[in-house]
């Protein structure tokens, strides 16, 4: 077989592999053109099946009770284990997941949560600024939900917004007062 034939065969193989990989790994339900690559609907399995619905919805725990940093820093930050233990020293200690959590806590270890809302390294987002902006009286109760969706109804946390640049800019353009639109606002 000549080199040319080999190459042709290789092409064919690659096309097949590409199709198989592409089609099988795709969740068609969430497929929308224009949102390719933005991970909308991303809801990975977490090491501990933490339910926002249970905590923030049913038990009405405030977002800021756990995400303490959001008012002070750029990251909202996943709560440190000692915050979980404020309740779970006593609450639901019969559940296997909670026992796992306690084990980790007392061993001085941590939990490797899977990151859901991810911005590339070249994008700098500041939670503090946005939370302060949205905590105007009329927005107070939608501050987090504006971008993160109805977290209180989610059993598994899921990315609702595309987090694309266009999505950011839309808001920066339409809100009143307008958000800054310089490139260096987010990229530096």
């Amino acid at each position: 077989m000549s080199f040319r034939h080999q190459a042709r065969l290789g092409q064919l193989l690659a096309v097949t592999v590409a199709l198989i990989v592409g089609l099988t790994s795709c969740n068609w339900k969430q497929f929308t053109w224009g949102h390719i690559g933005y991970n909308t609907g991303y809801a990975p399995k977490q090491p501990i099946p933490f339910s926002h619905k249970l905590h923030a919805g049913d038990n009405k725990i405030q977002c800021l009770y756990c995400h303490t940093n959001v008012e002070y820093a750029k990251h909202s930050a996943i709560p440190s284990l000692n915050i979980c233990m404020n309740c779970h020293l006593l609450v639901a200690t019969d559940k296997p997941a909670i026992q796992e959590l306690q084990k980790k806590y007392f061993a001085g270890e941590s939990i490797n949560w899977v990151k859901v809302h991810m911005l590339p390294d070249h994008v700098k987002f500041n939670h503090k600024r946005h939370v302060h902006r949205f905590s105007q009286p009329e927005d107070r109760y939608v501050a987090c939900q504006k971008c993160h969706g109805e977290v209180a109804k989610m059993d598994v946390i899921e990315q609702i917004s595309s987090l694309s640049m266009g999505w950011c800019i839309d808001c920066h353009r339409s809100s009143e007062p307008k958000g800054p639109l310089n490139c260096s606002t987010c990229h530096h």
Binding site: Q11, V17, C26, L81, W113, N126, H187
Partner: protein, 1023 residues
């Protein structure tokens, strides 16, 4: 990393990638031309890869629609979050750092428990907010991948020591072994000067327990100075110098702005007396053998050989005394040199002496540093003392108050130690804070004597030249990991707080002493750790627990003593001056320290290796500097390899032609040529310490006869500045003090107009002013910028191709004759032009104008056409030709990265952003505090560490801001005004306090054509 110093050949390398054999490098070997990202004959491999990418693109598009995301990242929260840490909010700690002779008060910025950036402690009485390049860079040595991770035990059999029978050990094992050895007594401790009374007390108690003796030696010696002070004034101190009170400073080869004693403090003070707007402006006259930073900043510079220093000083003294109505003894007169003998213009010495006399009590004569360590080193200092006393400077510009009392190194100690070893009186040798095998010449035989000691212990953090020969390596950790308290200058106490938990299994020297004493059964104190001991002592002085914390917060206590009376010059001092006749024929050697390398202790810090030497602008190499005339006579060109021979010791080193150097001198820098433990610094340059001569119990660094022989080899030197001249354009403007008083600024202004509309700025309008008059070229800003902005290091190979990545560079221009040029330093960074030439040519809008006047660079948009760089008249844009960021990813080095700044990757253009992340931070703080930004809230990294505040950043829309006021000064000008890019950065013309006529680069104050003239010199056409 392998720490074994294997002496295999072919260890040379040109770039960091090659050094670390990164996959990228290996790929470049087979794949790429250095200058083009793609091979011209794109091979089958490339084709196949592209085809594959095309096809897989479809697959990625499909799969990325929702469910699969790569890479999956993890978030790992704290187990218990420390109360003081909020992820991504920085904490600041006051601390300090002692660098050989210089002590600096620091503020260390940490994030999530790791130090990221150091700046000066603004209130500190010595350095203020200023820093040296080394201080900014020493943070990287904390993360040095070559730093030892724990103690190491070498074979005890002295004969087998060199077989590197090494084992990583546990501290308990080490302690047991050391304790057993200590019990035998006869302990010697070799250390450098260390200005901590707590450490010193501990050392004395420790040595007391084991009938030990302390030996102190400094690589940057101040011994002659102290000895002369003792003869002249009765006490052996390093006095404090008050440059702010001096109107005329005469430096006899003392590089006080660069390397001598406490350069940051001196630079800061020196600048205070150099305001050209005032009635008087201080003048600096330099007599130098090899141009130093001080020499290049001098208003008038003269070349002398090292052997002539004493004769010159005596010549000055003779004339000063004559002015006072007395004279020298006939014996000394014989040695006083005349203008003719020195090769000066007739009347030079008389003029200098006259000026000194005119400024009696307000002048300062200074000599010192290793460049002055000749046979006549003490005599020179005695004459300098005499001069200062005769001029009435003593007690005014030189005081014994706030002296640098802790500097106590003695050469005699080295000889005494060697004698004790020879006599078999040293069973245990502890070496701390020194690397004698590297810093002393082999001919001295110190290295061989280590074999005669039963146990050699070193506290080095690297498997360096000394560690390699020691039995026990007990790494003391980085200063940022340890507690201490220093008294840099008498009365000024500064705390050294650890800002990170030890990264490896290291233990401070003091803790080791405590542990060893305890293990040997002779406990020194009931306190278990040095910190407890320190806290108890210091709390005893500062008071309650609350006051202790207050002290920690402030970082220092005490002030530099003011006033004081003049010490009387001992009448016997004159008779102690016994000049030694110089026997030099032909060239003489001068070993000098450089601003970035000095003793070589930070040689493994890539930022410093790639920092262009402020004088020669050479990176990654040391050279033999020769004057243009000498080089021409010998037929030597830049990079010609020469053999340097001094009394049998010889080195092979490339030559470099250094304008402004004495024709009789060959100079070579210390601090290069590391052989072991430091992978990055290994074989970079040669170790000039091998040429140090031990004569009559003294080390002579200068004034020895040297034989320089040309070889046929040639090495290409990586010099970051190809041009030393301005090519007839006005890039730097300068004027004389007299001329300036007559309204001449040396600035040629152009009439310019633009057809473009103007940008509107409703909010802020950022601008920067750089004062060339106060910039000394110390290069601290370059390293600070590198630290703040994650700027990669590229290695010698790529610097040779002009691919260095510094966002701010310091150009050094010479003017005048080659033999004795004037120099101007000019920091150049992105000028953030109003009519930015880069913005108009970017095809993808990756560089755009912000509504605050910044020239934003958007890395993720950049496709790497490099049009912007091509179109930039200031050449400040830097392109990532390869994965230069790769070396950041190595082991701990990634921890030095600033998370606020994107790490750029291959194919992306980058440049100065005016530290936009700092602008944003300050804005955020102001908004949180419900106020508007104040002038001075935002300090760019370069501005923050500048010892002379030459850089000022601020809002031009705020008419009261400092930068607005500077923009209104008549000294301000823009770079290449005629191309009308309308830069946001403006320079302030340099004012030289000299009587000579200045040769100006451009047209000077002359006007070339009437039509081309500025009608209004301060007219601002575009902003």
């Amino acid at each position: 990393m392998e720490n074994t110093p294997v002496d295999t050949p072919n260890q040379y390398w040109k770039s960091l990638d090659e050094k670390y054999q990164t996959p990228e490098f290996l790929k470049t070997l087979e794949n790429e031309f250095a200058s083009s990202p793609l091979k011209s004959e794109d091979g089958q491999d490339g084709l196949a890869r592209r085809q594959f990418m095309k096809l897989m693109g479809a697959s990625v598009a499909l799969s990325a629609a929702a469910c699969v995301r790569r890479p999956v990242q993890k978030i790992i929260p704290y187990n218990k979050r420390p109360a003081e840490i909020i992820p991504d909010l920085p904490n600041y700690y006051a601390s300090s750092w002692f660098d050989g002779t210089q002590g600096l008060g620091l503020v260390v910025k940490t994030r999530e428990g790791r130090p990221l950036f150091v700046s000066g402690n603004a209130e500190h009485p010595l350095n203020g907010r200023g820093l040296s390049a080394r201080a900014s860079a020493h943070i990287l040595s904390l993360y040095d991948p070559d730093r030892l991770k724990g103690p190491i035990f070498n074979s005890v059999n002295p004969k087998k020591r060199r077989n590197s029978l090494r084992a990583d050990a546990k501290w308990e094992q080490i302690d047991a072994k050391v304790a057993a050895q200590l019990k035998k007594g006869d302990v010697a401790l070799l250390t450098a000067s260390y200005p901590s009374e707590h450490t010193q007390n501990l050392i004395s108690s420790f040595l007391g327990k084991f009938s030990g003796k302390k030996y102190v030696w400094d690589t940057m010696t101040t011994e002659s100075l102290r000895e002369a002070q003792k003869i002249s004034y009765g006490s052996a101190v390093v006095p404090s110098y008050h440059f702010d009170k001096s109107l005329l400073t005469v430096s006899l080869d003392a590089d006080f702005l660069g390397t001598y004693l406490s350069p940051v403090h001196f630079t800061r003070n020196f600048n205070l007396s150099r305001n050209p707007e005032g009635k008087k402006m201080a003048k600096l006259i330099s007599f130098h053998s090899v141009p130093s930073l001080t020499a290049l900043n001098a208003d008038d510079g003269y070349q002398v050989a090292a052997s002539q220093q004493l004769g010159l000083a005596l010549g000055l003294l003779q004339r000063v005394l004559a002015g006072k109505g007395s004279g020298l003894t006939a014996e000394l007169k014989k040695f006083a040199l005349t203008d003719e003998q020195l090769g000066f213009e007739n009347g030079t010495l008389t003029t200098v002496a006259k000026q000194l006399l005119e400024n009696s009590g307000e002048s300062l004569v200074m000599a010192g540093g290793i460049q002055c360590e000749t046979a006549n080193a003490i005599n020179l200092q005695l004459v300098v003392n005499w001069l200062n006393s005769a001029l009435g400077n003593e007690g005014k510009t030189i005081t014994a108050q706030s002296s640098y009392q802790s500097l106590e190194g003695k050469t005699a100690d080295i000889f005494e130690l060697m004698k004790q070893i020879d006599d078999g009186k040293v069973k245990t040798l502890i070496i701390h804070d020194l690397n004698p095998v590297y810093s002393l010449p082999t001919s001295l035989g110190f290295e061989k004597r280590l074999d005669k000691v039963e146990m050699v212990i070193t506290t080095s953090n690297w498997m360096d030249e000394t560690s390699y020969l020691a039995n026990v390596v007990a790494p003391a950790g980085h200063p940022m990991e340890n507690w201490n308290e220093f008294e840099f200058a008498k009365g000024v106490h500064t705390i050294q707080q650890p800002t990170v938990r030890p990264l490896g299994d290291t233990r401070s020297f003091e803790d080791s002493l405590l542990m060893w004493a305890q293990a040997a059964g002779s406990e020194i104190t009931p306190e278990k750790t040095f910190f407890e001991l320190l806290k108890k002592k210091v709390s005893g002085t500062v008071g309650s627990e609350a006051e202790w914390f207050e002290y920690l917060q402030k970082g220092f206590r005490g002030q530099v003593a003011e006033g004081g009376s003049a010490r009387g010059l001992s009448s016997a001092a004159a008779s102690q001056i016994q000049p030694v006749e110089s026997k030099v024929e032909g060239l003489e050697l001068v070993i000098f320290p450089t601003v970035h390398m000095t003793d070589g202790s930070l040689a493994n810090v890539s930022w410093l290796q790639e920092l262009p030497d402020p004088v020669s602008k050479i990176v990654w190499d040391n050279v033999l500097t020769l004057s243009p005339k000498t080089a021409k006579d010998m037929g030597i060109k830049d990079g010609t390899v020469v053999t340097v021979e001094v009394n049998g010791a010889s080195l092979k080193v490339p030559a470099y032609i250094q304008p402004g150097q004495s024709n009789k001198v060959a100079g070579i820098a210390l601090g290069y040529g590391r052989q072991a433990g430091m992978e990055l610094a290994k074989n970079v340059g040669v170790n000039a310490a091998q040429l140090i001569q031990a004569i009559d119990g003294k080390f002579q660094y200068a004034g020895q006869s040297v034989k320089v022989t040309k070889t046929s080899e040639k090495i290409e030197l990586a010099i970051t500045q190809g041009h030393n001249s301005m090519e007839g354009r006005q890039i730097v403007a300068e004027s004389t003090f007299k001329g300036y008083k007559d309204g001449k600024t040396g600035i040629h202004r152009h009439q310019i107009f633009s057809i473009w509309g103007q940008h509107k700025y409703d909010g802020h309008k950022w601008g920067m002013s750089i004062d060339l008059n106060t910039c000394t070229g110390c290069s601290a800003c370059m390293v600070a910028c590198q630290s703040e902005n994650n700027i990669p290091v590229v290695g010698k190979k790529y610097v040779l191709q002009g691919r260095e990545m510094h966002w701010i560079r310091i150009d050094r221009y010479y003017s005048g004759s080659e033999a004795s040029p004037d120099a101007v330093f000019q920091p150049v960074l992105c000028q953030h032009c109003e009519n930015a030439p880069c913005e108009t040519v970017c095809p993808v809008l990756a560089t755009v104008h912000s509504d605050e006047g910044l020239n934003d660079m958007v890395y993720n948009r950049c496709v790497g056409t490099r049009y912007c760089s091509n179109n930039c008249p200031y050449k400040v844009r830097r392109f990532n030709w390869f994965y230069y960021d790769g070396h950041h990813r190595k082991e701990n080095l990634h921890m030095a990265l600033n998370p606020e700044v994107t790490v750029r990757t291959r194919g992306v253009m980058e440049k100065c952003t005016f530290c936009v992340q700092r602008i944003k931070d300050s804005k955020n703080t102001a908004r949180d505090e419900n106020r508007s930004l104040k002038d001075g809230d935002i300090k760019t990294a370069c501005e923050e560490v500048c010892p002379t505040s030459a850089i000022t950043f601020g809002d031009l829309n705020d008419k009261d801001s400092k930068v607005s006021q500077m923009f209104a000064s008549q000294r301000q000008y823009t770079l290449l005004e005629e191309v009308n890019a309308a830069p946001r950065v403006r320079y302030m013309a340099k004012i030289r306090n000299t009587d000579r006529a200045m040769s100006n680069g451009h047209h000077g104050d002359e006007k070339h054509a009437p039509s081309h003239d500025a009608k209004d010199s301060n007219k601002e056409t575009h902003t």
